[in-house]
């Protein structure tokens, strides 16, 4: 029990400590691919510390919601990220580590972010919120369909059980799983405001979505939001790794060596995920905002198709 608690605590601290590193790593990979030098991967930590030291400037007509939202968003994202088995399965909270619960946590974080964007009443916040909600209305159903497919294949919505099922020999090559993976990657790109959907490095008013909502934040509030955004990226990469490449995940009660191997494998998976993301972002152009429904609609269709094909292969 004590060791299980310790592992869970380790997991919670690992996700929050690694998240800025992952963001920095993706930025570094992108810069290198563009033949720039790029900042060091620990630059996001420096940014966060600087932001925490700075005074928070708050608009005159901001309500309590504006001040509370960053903490709520950060907390919800952190809990969601801590529920995903990153290097070990069978965490203490794994009975709550339901995929639907994780989506609900992320959904509530997004809800508060959209509210906070509209709270001050500037036009940019409003634009950002409306676009974010438009993306969410398509991304969430696709995510749920992907979950249904996985749950139908694995017979559970619990992450630990799905990961265990995926490593077992009975899973086989399933085309519905391949389709679900593609759809999940599309949703993850949209959810994390990465390049074809939104550019995380721009403040151009015509295109920004996420940045427009957080434009009014400064100081420690901004630090919370940035950390939550990094956590969300880490969460999605961990989720994909846990669901589709769950190798070397340590079981509960395995020796310290298994945990070390699991940890090393997790770090390798994160780095690989970050490198692939950077490669993809460098190779694609940002799409118009009005193309985003097509992109996410395709993810939704793929989710449906995956569920459908799942029934076909079971009907045989």
């Amino acid at each position: 029990m004590i060791s299980a608690l310790f592992i869970q605590a380790l997991q919670m601290s690992i996700v929050v400590l690694l998240a800025p590193m992952l963001t920095g790593l993706v930025r570094l990979f992108k810069a290198r691919l563009l033949r720039r030098c790029g900042p060091s991967p620990i630059q996001p930590y420096r940014d966060l510390i600087r932001l925490l030291r700075k005074e928070a400037v708050i608009a005159e007509n901001a309500s309590w919601l504006f001040r509370a939202a960053p903490y709520l968003i950060f907390a919800a994202t952190w809990v969601a990220a801590a529920l995903i088995p990153t290097f070990a399965t069978g965490l203490v909270f794994s009975w709550t580590a339901d995929l639907i619960a994780i989506i609900a946590l992320l959904g509530s974080a997004r809800f508060f972010l959209a509210l906070a964007g509209m709270d001050v009443g500037t036009s940019f916040g409003g634009i950002g919120s409306s676009r974010e909600v438009m993306i969410a209305t398509l991304a969430e159903p696709s995510m749920l369909l992907i979950i249904f497919t996985l749950a139908l294949v694995a017979g559970s919505t619990q992450l630990s059980s799905i990961a265990a099922f995926m490593t077992s020999p009975q899973v086989g090559l399933r085309v519905s799983l391949a389709i679900a993976l593609i759809a999940l990657i599309m949703v993850a790109i949209a959810e994390n405001a990465r390049i074809p959907v939104d550019n995380p490095a721009t403040h151009l008013e015509l295109t920004m979505v996420h940045e427009a909502m957080v434009l009014e934040y400064s100081g420690r509030h901004l630090a919370m939001i940035e950390l939550a955004a990094s956590l969300k990226l880490l969460l999605y990469i961990s989720l994909i790794a846990c669901l589709f490449v769950p190798w070397k995940l340590a079981d509960l009660g395995a020796g310290p060596l298994a945990y070390l191997v699991g940890l090393a494998a997790y770090l390798a998976k994160l780095a690989a995920g970050g490198a692939l993301l950077a490669l993809f972002e460098t190779a694609t152009a940002k799409m118009r905002v009005f193309r985003v429904p097509d992109f996410l609609g395709a993810a939704l269709m793929l989710g449906l198709l995956a569920a459908l094909l799942r029934f076909v292969s079971r009907g045989l």
Binding site: G172, L173, R174, V175, S176, A178, I179, I182, P293, D294, G297, A298, M301, L302, L304, L305, L308, L309, F311, V312, S313, G315, L316
Partner: protein, 221 residues
Amino acid sequence: MTGSVFDIAHMLAGGLVLVSMMMLYQDRLYALLNVFALHSLVLTLSVGWQAVIQDAPHLFVTAAIALIFKAIIIPVVLHRMIRQLGIHREIETVVGIGPTMLAGLGLVALATVVMLRVTPSADPIAREDLAFALSVLLLGLLIMVTRRNAVSQVVGFMSLENGLVLAATGAKGMPLVVEISVAFSILIAFIVIGVFLFRIRERFDTVDVRALDDFKGRRRK
């Protein structure tokens, strides 16, 4: 062993349906052609795998025909044609991408429901292959219906033919003669269509088939 045999056949045939859906999503001609080449490549792999599991060496010939003609020659020729016609920047769909994909999904559902109902006693791999092949066929028809540009209609036609080949190889014992004659008739059709494309273009200065409707005096609203 039977598990992995079935899994790989399932994966490749399902991959063909997936690539067909990708073709529905593409609205640029070059992208459409690249996806079509991928489609033919997946077909080649699928037919090759069928050759291995059915122990039927003549299917390797089919796979080679698919690879050489459909994955290499036809895309390259169409690329060149698009460049000569000067239409490589055109974007066209009759209906939006969303409704098209929804219709495609409906067709896949229809194909699987029909095929699984009518073939209850057949071999699982053949059943699944037939269901997927019918989906690919219907999706190819859908591509032909939803596009205005004659070149993308040709691509839809070729993907439809890929579905036919998938069905033929899934069902055991299609003679090689039939396969070769089908492949060559497709090639002839392709050449004829190519000639027609240039004629249409010469006459109407466009390959948008709406021009033909206007010519016949049947106007669209």
